[in-house]
């Protein structure tokens, strides 16, 4: 079943074209890696899919499970099943992870017509997902990302993903800032949460190393605002050894 269809997407920031005709289809059950040099537009693609203000779509279309994604507000996209893992997770002083995630989960559930989770049930769920990512529950009682190291922020993103349980995740350089041990934990977490016949992932990464843990079904190279080459996992190996310029 088709999950995401991006068709000839054009987007600009401050009048500067960044995405220039990007086309990509992701089916349920698939993990797609998007690789590409710095400045290629990878984060821009993630933000456009998330609906970030300032990222203006000037052409093309995106559908998620048949619904027009670009027509939705950012919080509606989350409710529709999309999760955006940030390259730079945002710190929110004064708001605890527990409060933030419980409000977020229950806002999504309410919007979908499901009953909100009680405090106790939520904590049980949070504890389970934190355990999956080997994150101390005490960290979740602290303010959102405040004082977290780069690696802790990325792990916290995956705990959030576990709790919100999306159908489709766009993970923007979730591997950056992770040491080798954390990389394995995060990789295992992504597999546990998202590897399912009714789910799909767009894994944006700069390096091949995360793909050793999360094996992609397809690898795409994004350069100058377009997908320039696609292939299987072997493409990632070639990129790693030969560089983007030789392959793309």
């Amino acid at each position: 079943m088709t999950m995401l269809i991006i068709d000839n997407l054009h987007a600009e920031i401050d009048g500067k074209p960044i995405l220039k005709g990007l086309t990509l289809t992701v089916n349920a059950g698939e993990i797609h890696a998007i690789m590409g040099p710095n400045g290629a537009g990878k984060s821009t693609l993630a933000y456009v899919l998330g609906g970030r203000p300032g990222y203006e779509v000037t052409g093309g279309s995106v559908t998620l499970n048949g619904a027009d994604l670009l027509d939705m507000d950012p919080h509606e996209r989350a409710t529709a099943g999309m999760f955006l893992g940030f390259q730079y997770p945002v710190e929110i002083p004064g708001v605890s992870n527990v409060q933030f995630l419980r409000e977020a989960l229950n806002a999504q559930r309410t919007a979908r017509g499901e009953a909100p989770l009680s405090g106790g049930d939520f904590l049980k769920l949070a504890r389970e997902k934190a355990g999956l990512l080997r994150m101390d529950m005490e960290m979740l009682k602290r303010n959102v990302n405040v004082g977290f190291s780069g690696g802790e922020k990325k792990r916290a993103e995956m705990v959030q993903m576990g709790i919100l349980d999306p159908a489709f995740a766009v993970l923007d350089e979730t591997d950056s800032g992770l040491d080798i041990d954390a990389l394995r934990v995060v990789g295992d977490g992504i597999n546990a949460i998202m590897r399912a016949p009714d789910k799909a992932v767009l894994l944006i990464t700069h390096y091949q190393r995360l793909l050793d843990y999360v094996r992609p079904d397809f690898v795409h190279v994004l350069a100058a605002g377009r997908i320039v080459t696609s292939g299987g996992p072997e493409l990632a190996q070639r990129l790693e050894s030969e560089g983007y310029e030789a392959v793309a």
């Binding site: 203000p53 919080h75 409710t79 945002v90 989960l105």
Partner: protein
């Protein structure tokens, strides 16, 4: 009988002149006395949340070695002023947390004066102002430290949050220090809601009103942080956030 103040008076410079002209002069002689006996600790909570203009004036006398705590929310629909004058005994402590919050076109203000006439006393004030529409939030904070009031520690921290262009805050610290061995930390800043935090929260499924509420709650939480009673903290927060809920 007192004469009505005008905005030409330093102490009333940011007040709503039209409202002042209509005040009953008698109210200017009305002071609410809050006396704390030497060595004792006492707390008072004040909420101004009415429909008409309000003038609340508290005269605090903190005995030697005593602690007085005052927490207040100014959240009414019309001009409202919370004025606090504090006389501190030797080694006394005064703790203040104040919030002005609201929209429309009303002026809401907190005016404090710390009279440090004796040595070793401390005062700590945290003031937060959250406004929208064309409303104005003011803080005038005067600190007098007499020649003999050595080892005075008087802190004052004001932050304003403007939710919409058109709203404003004014902060005016005024320090008159005649002793040489004193600490007077004071800060004032004005800002807007953090756009990246708002998008991050939306990306997790929080609708804009809920995200704003959480951010405002975190912002004004500072003013109540020193309040030991969680129930009272919640009550103050509820009054403040109710004003936000009415936001048109």
């Amino acid at each position: 009988m007192a004469t009505l103040p005008t905005t030409r008076d330093e102490n009333w410079r940011y007040a709503d002149g039209a409202v002042l002209a209509q005040l009953d002069p008698d109210v200017l002689d009305q002071w609410d006395d809050f006396d704390v006996a030497p060595g004792e600790t006492a707390r008072r909570i004040i909420m101004a949340g009415g429909a008409g203009p309000e003038l609340i004036r508290v005269r605090v006398t903190v005995g030697d070695g005593a602690t007085a705590e005052l927490f207040g929310v100014v959240a009414g629909d019309a001009y409202a002023r919370l004025e606090v004058v504090v006389h501190l005994g030797r080694g006394a402590h005064f703790q203040f947390g104040g919030v002005t919050i609201g929209g429309g076109d009303a002026v809401r203000e907190i005016v404090t004066r710390m009279d440090h006439a004796l040595p070793d006393a401390t005062s700590d004030q945290v003031i937060r102002a959250v406004h929208w529409g064309t409303a104005t939030g003011n803080f005038l904070g005067r600190i007098d430290v007499a020649r003999h009031a050595q080892k005075t520690d008087a802190a004052q921290d004001f932050k304003g949050l403007i939710l919409e262009r058109g709203a404003a805050t004014n902060a005016r610290p005024e320090l008159e220090i005649y002793a040489d061995d004193v600490k007077c930390a004071h800060g004032a800043s004005i800002g807007q809601l953090d756009e990246s935090a708002r998008f991050y929260m939306a990306a997790r499924g929080l609708p804009p009103e809920l995200a704003r509420k959480l951010l405002v709650q975190a912002f004004i939480g500072d003013a109540f942080a020193a309040l030991g009673d969680e129930g009272e903290q919640e009550r103050l927060m509820d009054v403040a956030l109710a004003a936000l809920g009415d936001r048109s």
